[in-house]
Symmetry: C2
Amino acid sequence: MRIIHLKTYALWLGCSLCATLAAAQTPSSHNIGGQPYPQVNPDNTVTFRVKAPGAKSVQIVLDRPYEMRKDTAGMWLYTSAPQVPGFHYYSVQVGGLQVADPATYTYFGMSRMASAFEIPEAKGEGDYYKPQKGVARGALRSRRFYSGVCGEWRRMYVYTPPGYEQDTQKRYPVLYLQHGGGEDERGWPNQGYMNHIMDNLIADGKVQPMIVVMNRGYAVHSGQPIPEQQPNQRSSMEAFAAFTDLMVKDVIPLVDSTYRTLSDREHRAMAGLSWGGKQTLDTALGHPDLFSAIGCFSAALPMRPGTDIGTLYGGIFKDAAAFNERFRLFWLGIGSEEGDGTAKFHQALADKGIRSTLYTSPGTAHEWLTWRRCLYQFAPLLFQ
Amino acid sequence: MRIIHLKTYALWLGCSLCATLAAAQTPSSHNIGGQPYPQVNPDNTVTFRVKAPGAKSVQIVLDRPYEMRKDTAGMWLYTSAPQVPGFHYYSVQVGGLQVADPATYTYFGMSRMASAFEIPEAKGEGDYYKPQKGVARGALRSRRFYSGVCGEWRRMYVYTPPGYEQDTQKRYPVLYLQHGGGEDERGWPNQGYMNHIMDNLIADGKVQPMIVVMNRGYAVHSGQPIPEQQPNQRSSMEAFAAFTDLMVKDVIPLVDSTYRTLSDREHRAMAGLSWGGKQTLDTALGHPDLFSAIGCFSAALPMRPGTDIGTLYGGIFKDAAAFNERFRLFWLGIGSEEGDGTAKFHQALADKGIRSTLYTSPGTAHEWLTWRRCLYQFAPLLFQ
């Protein structure tokens, strides 16, 4: 009996430990319902599991491929080094093929539908991008439209703030908000949680209620071939130079005629992340008659060693007084782990007398947590 | 010179043939921009291409796995047998791991994010589910809400018809529309093109403008574990029995308090496909005080050999006169390639004196083309 009791106790103890570990190892928030892996561990390491009974080797691709080890029943396992808080794309590699892990929802990134895991922030810190009880909700709409510039049907997302549908006389300023290279128009709603950020800011009275419009950045003129986007390779973004035309000739007129906008330049802003930051500069600085505020989040900047910014964008930075009067807000944001290019650009602007705002997101890299924070910091400064 | 001319001619001829073939082999409409494969060929065969240089073998999984053959440069190719028109999920299999093909957008199906290709209908036949120029657009919104029944944040899609935001006095009937097993609330917008179908029907004056609400069907009561959904295995759908509670206690009250609905039973209908058809029967027949019309598209029906339908749903089919008075529309749709279960159910209903409508979609199987057609046929009969 004693032996049995000890065995029972050992079994109970084992189960208790399992239960404790199971509670501490949390399924990532991007997992499909009920999928236990990837698991985020208390030390911010991540454990991945893939079922590939016939594979010789399987890798998890983070910054580079990492070998998984084969467990029982054809399961492959890998636990990563600790990861920084935020949103991380990753891939599974089998036989040289890089694919999404079937255990997670997928997000358009790396020029394909990609898996993701998320390392949560410290408790409470991420509340601003989560839905909150009792907060009035804006409407997040997807909208098809025919683009004459591109000769194709396209989709944009439009956020209208709470109250938009009740007071049908009121008009709103508009922020055009762009995704990064390899992502698409779903990035800000799906990876960036922009609707929750705006809802929460509006509920707190921190931001002007505004319409936010998100377009896909890939645009080629009608009849031109669409470049093939290879997974994990950024295709030449130069091929998508029709984007500014798309914005100016199709998108802005459609938005102003469809939604209750304030359609003067004082009430129109543009912001974008990474490649979308470059598109923002190209579009807004190329059309200062249309925009009065600019946001660049981890932007791909036109700076090379020795670049004189006075030569950029038709010399728009040469006349600082005119620029400062014209652009009420020129806002630059960057993650602290991303290098100093944005800070150098900020300094180069200051050297020319150009007023810009620099925000550094602590502890984050070139990923969506940086950009969620950027939107949260940037939006309240708009249209004041 | 003659030889050179001949060579030049041969080269030209070869290029012309290539160009002709390239034009005839169309990238599937679900491919990521610029991705040439999967290609739909003129005979409705489909050619797949996957880059997996290190794989011993690669399979394309349609109804079963088919071996691809290795070409140059690590490319694997496979051309299928002719496929029926419509929307087809498929997988790539490497080392026993079934995944989405990175060349296509993905859709939640088979309980995970899945690749798809589409065999187009004959020219003109699919116009009803495509966006058309000059047609007024309703708004397709995604909406987060907190469910007390499930103890979690959930998402629904809400379609409001054109004009909804202009005439703010008008109220609308509501159709609750459900996806199938292994799919989710994105199915009807993303795979079913329901917004284009409704926009086009409304523009043609064929349908009452209505609000359409789409929820994810997976619902467990607060505190209950969420079953793990394995790729390619339908988990026991019985575990999601909280769905009716979710609908009745959370969704319908939220919709009626948030949108300008006509909130009596005469103006509330429910429809669903496959497993969603079963959920529709469970919910609407379980709450005849709430619904006046029902649509079952390729529904999972509670019929077994020898089932007396008089015993189903608390005996609701026993009193035909009462049922026929209560439910103004009981509509059954099915693809011609799906077997005769729905026709038998229709006959069993008729034998009891229950009035139902049977629609058979010609040449289609258990997939989204059947269900797009079902919505197109069913919606005009609602709320008349």
